[in-house]
């Protein structure tokens, strides 16, 4: 018996790809919100570029922020939606009488999240190039670092949300869509951390995404990549990922104690 099987991970990934392929409205929905966001923030950026010195100094400061924020949200949501597919179809009982391990399932969820995120965010980023003459890809290698940090944080939150749904049932389903936005005011997506009251700033600095958005502004305004920001964000990612993984696996074990794997669903 293989301890860890790529074949089983691929089996689960295939399942989620079949679901995605089975419904074109769902695929379209992946594109819809990121594209809409880029359209709105692109026009706002054009307006602010003529009326605000802040945006005039770096046109992409708002567009880049909205794309990166959306990427993090899509990472979390992409993971949670694939997880919820199993809950909606009451399929956990079928899956976990096979040799599938929870860790293999989690990896397939992460892989599917990356695919869903790419389908949603990449076209939106490409649309901004002809429309606003802004390419987020011009950030170069720092963009890769930002993406990695944000996706890891999105996954950490997604795993924690899935754990809470496993623990509390489908009544907690709305967490998948809402909990993420509770962090937006302190993530400093569109404004510097110094905008926040002094007492709230330590909260902002405890989140990895804050370092990404501050780092992005440093790249755009000063053309400097802050390695210290990046390393701190990676360290915080590790902490949040450990928390997310811990919550998920504890909830999974708890579900086995409560018999929830057989019963859970809509």
């Amino acid at each position: 018996m293989t301890v860890f099987s790529l074949g089983r991970i691929w089996a689960m990934l295939l399942r989620y790809l079949y679901i995605l392929r089975s419904s074109w409205p769902r695929t379209l929905e992946l594109l819809y919100w990121p594209t809409l966001q880029v359209l709105i923030w692109g026009f706002m950026s054009q307006f602010f570029a003529q009326n605000s010195s802040y945006v005039a100094r770096a046109f992409g400061v708002l567009l880049g922020a909205v794309m990166l924020w959306d990427l993090m949200f899509r990472s979390q949501l992409g993971l949670s939606i694939s997880f919820l597919e199993e809950m909606w179809s009451r399929n956990l009982g079928n899956l976990f009488v096979t040799p599938l391990r929870p860790s293999e399932w989690v990896i397939s969820l992460l892989a599917m999240s990356a695919i869903r995120t790419a389908i949603g965010v990449v076209p939106a980023a490409l649309i901004a190039i002809p429309l606003y003459h802004y390419s987020i890809f011009d950030m170069g290698p720092p963009l890769v670092a930002f993406l990695a940090v944000l996706m890891a944080m999105g996954w950490a939150m997604g795993l924690a949300v899935c754990g809470l749904i496993l623990r509390h049932g489908m009544g907690a389903e709305s967490l998948a869509w809402t909990v993420f936005f509770a962090l937006s005011p302190v993530s400093c997506v569109y404004y510097p951390v110094t905008t926040l009251p002094a007492w709230l700033q330590p909260v902002a600095w405890s989140l990895p995404q804050t370092y990404v958005f501050e780092g992005m502004r440093t790249v755009l305004f000063q053309h400097v990549f802050r390695t210290d920001y990046f390393l701190t964000a990676v360290a915080l990612d590790i902490v949040f990922m450990a928390l997310g993984v811990g919550i998920f696996f504890l909830s999974f074990r708890d579900a086995r104690h409560r018999g929830a794997l057989m019963q859970m669903g809509e």
């Binding site: 074949g7 689960m12 976990f96």
Partner: protein, 250 residues
């Protein structure tokens, strides 16, 4: 003599103050069919869930195919399978897609050939490309059985395998299970409250009530012991008894 394929010892499952399974023990010999028989809430499905590793017991042990299920279930799971009409396959995938996913989860190499053969055996070929959610109850049951037989399990656990089926389809499923067992020597354990099914298929019956095994034996022994004419009468006698009395320890 070799160890029985299923060995359950002093199995207890508590949910807070509620005791769903109350210290039951039983064995099932290789190549035989046994049944957990009891009314709703007797503890049958809970017992099956523990055997499958989906539910952790409060106390007790389960050995399947010589392995401790609580410690080494991943050694056992590739060799067993499960079917229940209450665990539908995902509705939006086609039957073929569902079967392909599960075939990969079991690490089968000739997946398409295996699915084609099972589809022919179980007469589901013509709706392999139909979404699983658009099948009738009888079709769903046959598809669920195909899923359960993908890995040609040595131990097959079945939760009410013919529930909500018309008599003809139910009979067809029972015949198929008999053929499968005769061909492979598999061990079958089913939870049921279909007396005719149990009488026909099972060499050994564990009568459950309120989480206890209150009696056990072959269908003929139980009918004889209670002075009844069929297993349904035995079931009704036990179900209507005021209390659940554990069987005497021999």
């Amino acid at each position: 003599m070799s160890e029985p394929v299923i060995v359950v010892d002093n199995l207890v499952k508590r949910y807070g103050a509620t005791v769903a399974v109350d210290g039951i023990g039983f064995t099932v010999e290789r190549g035989t069919t046994a049944a957990l028989l009891g009314g709703n809430g007797a503890g049958k499905t809970t017992t099956l869930s523990i055997l499958l590793g989906l539910l952790l017991p409060s106390e007790g042990s389960v050995r399947i195919l010589g392995e401790n299920m609580l410690r080494h279930r991943y050694r056992v799971l590739p060799r067993i399978n499960f079917s229940s009409p209450y665990a539908d396959l995902p509705h939006r995938l086609t039957v073929r897609q569902n079967l392909l996913v599960f075939a990969r989860l079991y690490g089968l190499s000739s997946r398409r050939e295996r699915i084609a053969r099972l589809a022919e055996d179980l007469q589901i070929t013509r709706f392999l490309d139909r979404p699983a959610g658009k099948l009738s109850s009888g079709q769903k049951t046959r598809v669920a059985l195909a899923k359960a037989l993908l890995n040609e399990p040595e131990v097959l656990l079945l939760d009410e395998p013919t529930a909500s089926l018309d008599p003809d389809t139910g009979d067809w499923i029972r015949s198929y299970l008999e053929d499968y067992q005769a061909r492979t020597g598999a061990t079958l354990l089913l939870a049921s409250h279909n007396m005719a099914e149990v009488e026909r298929l099972c060499a050994q019956v564990m009568m459950m009530k309120s989480g206890l095994i209150v009696d056990r034996g072959s269908p003929a022994e139980l009918i004889d012991r209670y002075g009844r004419t069929n297993l349904e009468e035995v079931f009704l006698h036990i179900a209507r008894r005021a209390d659940a009395v554990p069987e005497p320890v021999s």
